[in-house]
């Protein structure tokens, strides 16, 4: 019953979001059909305006590429949600993950495929630690994790910028990023002869999804984490290690975002970055988790949806439609999911009129 409702709300949200997109395009005297064209093209690589041209796989791969980091950050936020915590620190954990992976890529010598695996582990641990800090403060000092997470995002930004400049060999051509990683550390692309940067990091994403699902739904550990999140006092009464649970939850949550950073930097950038601002994947993770109702399968689909909207945004410009329309659609979807109580309320009103009750 609960799951059906979550699915229904997500679907209503998507429909509402797309309608908003069409409306905005229409009132600004552009052709709403072009949104359909852009969506189909981003999803299937097929150009509706030039039906004689073959399918272009590049578009499909780029869609999946956009999806990879936001599924991971979505899992990060969802893991915290399921255990009663709000991890808004994904940005910082992602940056730490990027930088830790870059350090291992440049300074540890190992053969492929061990090298990227070590880098990803480093990203996992760094992101985890960055999540663990607000976890400890929450468990032992009852300081709200949201406040700490937001502050840690900024600390992570400047910390990583300093670290890259201070400890990584800088590329003289850019002056603000490290030299390229050795070949052994790079996650190879899987582009079927196109120019896409889609890569084998997708395996990590799939493994993360499975681990998330299994830990949360099947293990005793996940059970006690959920119990702690849903009713702290009852978990304490039952003799669970509630403080340990909060810390572990935040560590694991942070680890997912750290992996997102590692996979991105090893698969797409191939060098250590100093950040000019937030990449936004940590915040996207909140949207993905919300629309995906914080369960594994839901996150897979909502990750694909948001990935599609992101790539579609870029393609929209080809049709003289500002790319902000894509963000607008995302915003409208989030709005409906966040305001789901309005839907529930309207539904109850409606059924009340019919003399029914759910």
């Amino acid at each position: 019953m609960k799951k059906v409702n979550a699915l229904k709300i997500s679907l209503i949200a998507v429909v509402f979001g797309l309608l908003t997109g069409f409306l905005i395009i229409a009132v600004t005297n552009r052709n709403p059909y072009n949104l359909v064209v852009a969506l189909v093209r981003s999803m299937a690589g097929f150009n509706l305006l030039k039906p004689d041209k073959p399918i272009n796989v590049l578009y499909i791969l780029n869609w999946f590429l956009e999806t990879m980091p936001i599924i991971l950050t979505g899992l990060s936020v969802a893991f915290a949600f399921r255990t009663g915590l709000f991890n808004i620190g994904g940005e910082g954990q992602y940056m730490l993950g990027c930088t830790a992976a870059a350090y291992v890529a440049l300074f540890v010598k190992a053969p492929f495929p061990l090298h990227p695996i070590l880098c990803i582990l480093a990203g996992l641990i760094a992101g985890g630690i960055w999540g663990f800090i607000p976890g400890i403060l929450k468990a032992f000092k009852n300081i709200h994790e949201v406040v700490v997470c937001i502050m840690l995002n900024y600390i992570a930004w400047y910390l990583t910028s300093w670290f890259v400049r201070a400890y990584l060999p800088i590329n003289p051509n850019t002056g603000s990023s490290s030299i390229n990683f050795p070949e052994s550390a790079i996650i190879p692309t899987l582009n079927f002869g196109t120019s896409s940067q889609f890569n084998y990091g997708i395996i990590v994403v799939v493994i993360a999804l499975v681990i998330f699902h299994v830990v949360i739904e099947k293990t005793t550990f996940g059970y006690s984490l959920r119990a702690t999140g849903l009713n702290f006092e009852a978990a304490r009464y039952a003799g669970m290690k509630t403080k340990f649970n909060i810390c572990s939850s935040m560590f694991i949550s942070g680890a997912f975002s750290g992996i997102a950073g590692a996979v991105t930097i090893l698969g797409v950038y191939h060098y250590g970055r100093t950040f000019q601002g937030f990449d936004g994947y940590g915040f996207d993770g909140i949207s993905v988790a919300l629309v995906g109702a914080s369960n594994g399968i839901g996150i897979l689909f909502s990750g694909l949806l948001f990935g599609l909207l992101k790539t579609t945004s870029n393609n929209l410009q080809l049709f003289n439609i500002p790319k902000e329309v894509g963000e607008l659609i995302q915003g409208a979807i989030i709005f409906v999911v966040a305001a789901q109580y309005i839907i529930i309320y309207l539904e109850e009103k409606l059924s009340k009129k019919k003399g029914e009750f759910k």
Binding site: K218, T220, L230
Partner: protein
């Protein structure tokens, strides 16, 4: 005499269930009318219809003889109908007056809030009806009984003439219940009409003029309370003969299981809530702990179960010093705990019922292997407990616990704790807010566990429950043990004196205090 409320042939159908089936309820003006029924009989639905929260599928409502259509609670309020909900709707950080005037704030000069005149009016009303409260006290600093008075004052401030009380005594101590009964009688003297929703027969007998009994959504009868008795009402409510006298065998106490020695426990304010408390509980006996709410019972239970730190003194379980043991270690040593607050401690309401059954034992070999929960084992265990303890819910083991009735939630906790108890059961307020049928069943289960040789410490604010079940009775007053007597050598009067601290009697010694 005319009727203040008439609800004629009310039927309310929800998908799959007829919550109210052609019920007629007539409440005479200026009287106390009780609405009696078990949990889930349809009382709340009926009252929600009267209060405008639901629309009836069919039927007519008349207020003061005029047919009305109550589409929402504001309409009900305009008609002079007010309601004290079971769970109070107060803002904790506001004062009494601020809560009462909420929505009807009196304006002073320049549109400022005129709190003084409001407080004065509150004071006047409270004196008129004998509802003592301090208009400037904050809600979170006053007792539950006081909070309920604030709810009553809210209705009076709004000039409501028809007052609905939904299970008003469920959260009150015996003294507060007596006060409330007096208040109700005062309200009638002042011309109000009261509709009292309850399943406590004693209270109906004491204050109500008439009583309408509903069972499974059907109106059974409306009776004159002065011409009936509790037994008759209970039979009408449950639909079968009810056994009020708890049948129990002689107890056969064996070895000491729980031994408390010179225990001191501090409360959250840092004051000693339990002082030099010593008590033994033996296998095969029920020791009842009586006392007025707030005399250290909760702190004592928390200390015994490991939920709070012990200042000094020791607790032994089967001779083993468990003073410093964690909650889970105490559980593993054979201690079970049915907690006072089933929502706060006893259950994870957003879990499925089956998940709540393994709240302590999910990590045991029986239900897990290598870190994975064996859901097939959990399922069969849940089904076993559900059938053994007759836990009723919409979708069996898969029901969301939140969606279950209070009685069945409590049964679920009792099922879990009794099944897991190896040596000792600490039971706190096991039947709070439950109906006669459920109480009867839970009492019989507790006695069965005693006869199975378990040691039982029963903490309850209901003196009837203590008197009915206990083999020995300990009394706690102001954190100290003020009485320890055999059930057969005492009576309610003596226990009452010990509860108030005016009599001290431990182990046969008698000290009269002035």
């Amino acid at each position: 005499m005319s009727y203040a409320i008439e609800m004629l042939n009310i039927t309310k159908v929800f998908p799959g269930i007829k919550a109210n089936d052609n019920i007629t309820l007539r409440v005479k003006e200026n009287s106390i009318h009780a609405l009696l029924g078990e949990n889930g009989a349809g009382k709340s639905t009926l009252m929600s219809i009267l209060f405008g929260l639901y629309q009836p599928t069919s039927g007519v409502i008349k207020v003061n003889g005029k047919e009305v259509s109550i589409t929402d609670p504001n309409v009900a309020n305009d008609l002079g109908i007010g309601m004290v909900h079971q769970h109070f709707k107060l803002i904790e950080s506001f004062t009494v007056t601020e809560n009462i005037i909420l929505g009807l704030e009196p304006k002073g000069k320049f549109g400022t809030l005129d709190i003084k005149s409001a407080a004065k009016k509150v004071k006047e009303i409270s004196e008129l009806y004998g509802l003592e409260v301090d208009p400037y006290a904050k809600i979170d600093s006053i007792s539950v009984g006081m909070q309920q008075r604030v709810e009553i004052l809210k209705m009076l401030y709004r000039n409501n003439n028809i007052l609905i009380f939904d299970e008003p005594t469920a959260v009150l101590t015996p003294q507060e219940i007596q006060d409330l009964m007096k208040i109700m009688k005062n309200l009638i003297k002042e011309g109000k009409t009261i509709l009292l929703i309850t399943h406590k027969l004693k209270e109906i007998k004491e204050v109500a003029d008439e009583c309408t009994v509903i069972r499974k959504g059907v109106g059974i009868a409306t009776i004159d309370v002065s011409k009936t008795n509790e037994k008759e009402m209970a039979e009408m409510m449950v639909g079968r003969a009810v056994n009020f006298n708890i049948d129990k065998n002689e107890c056969d106490p064996k070895d000491v299981v729980l031994s408390i020695k010179n225990l001191f426990v501090k409360n959250f304010k840092g004051l000693n809530a339990v002082k030099d408390f010593s008590l033994d509980v033996r296998a095969g006996e029920i020791v009842g702990l009586a006392g007025i709410d707030g005399n250290g019972q909760s702190e004592l239970v928390y200390a015994l179960t490991g939920m709070t730190k012990i200042e000094s003194g020791n607790v032994y379980l089967k001779g083993e010093d468990i003073t410093k043991y964690s909650i889970i270690d105490r559980f593993k040593k054979g201690m079970s705990h049915i907690p006072e607050d089933r929502h706060k401690h006893g259950l994870v309401l957003d879990f499925e019922l089956r998940e709540n059954f393994v709240l302590h034992s999910y990590n045991n070999k029986e239900f897990s292997s290598t870190g994975f929960i064996k859901y097939d084992k959990v399922n069969s265990y849940a089904e076993k407990l559900i059938s053994e303890f007759d836990v009723r819910s919409g979708k069996g083991k898969d029901s969301l616990t939140r969606s279950m009735s209070g009685g069945n939630q409590q049964k679920a906790i009792i099922a879990r704790e009794i099944s897991e108890a190896k040596e000792l059961l600490i039971i706190v307020q096991p039947t709070r807010g439950l109906d006669v049928g459920a109480i009867e069943y839970i009492h019989s289960r507790i006695l069965k566990e005693r006869d199975n040789g378990k040691a039982i410490l029963l903490v309850s604010l209901e003196l009837d429950e203590i008197m009915g079940l206990s083999d020995r009775i300990a009394v706690i007053h102001n954190g100290e043990i003020s009485g320890l007597v055999y059930r057969k050598n005492t009576d309610e009067n003596e226990i009452g004196l010990m509860m108030s601290g005016s009599l001290h009697k431990v182990g046969g010694e008698i000290n009269e205090k002035g």
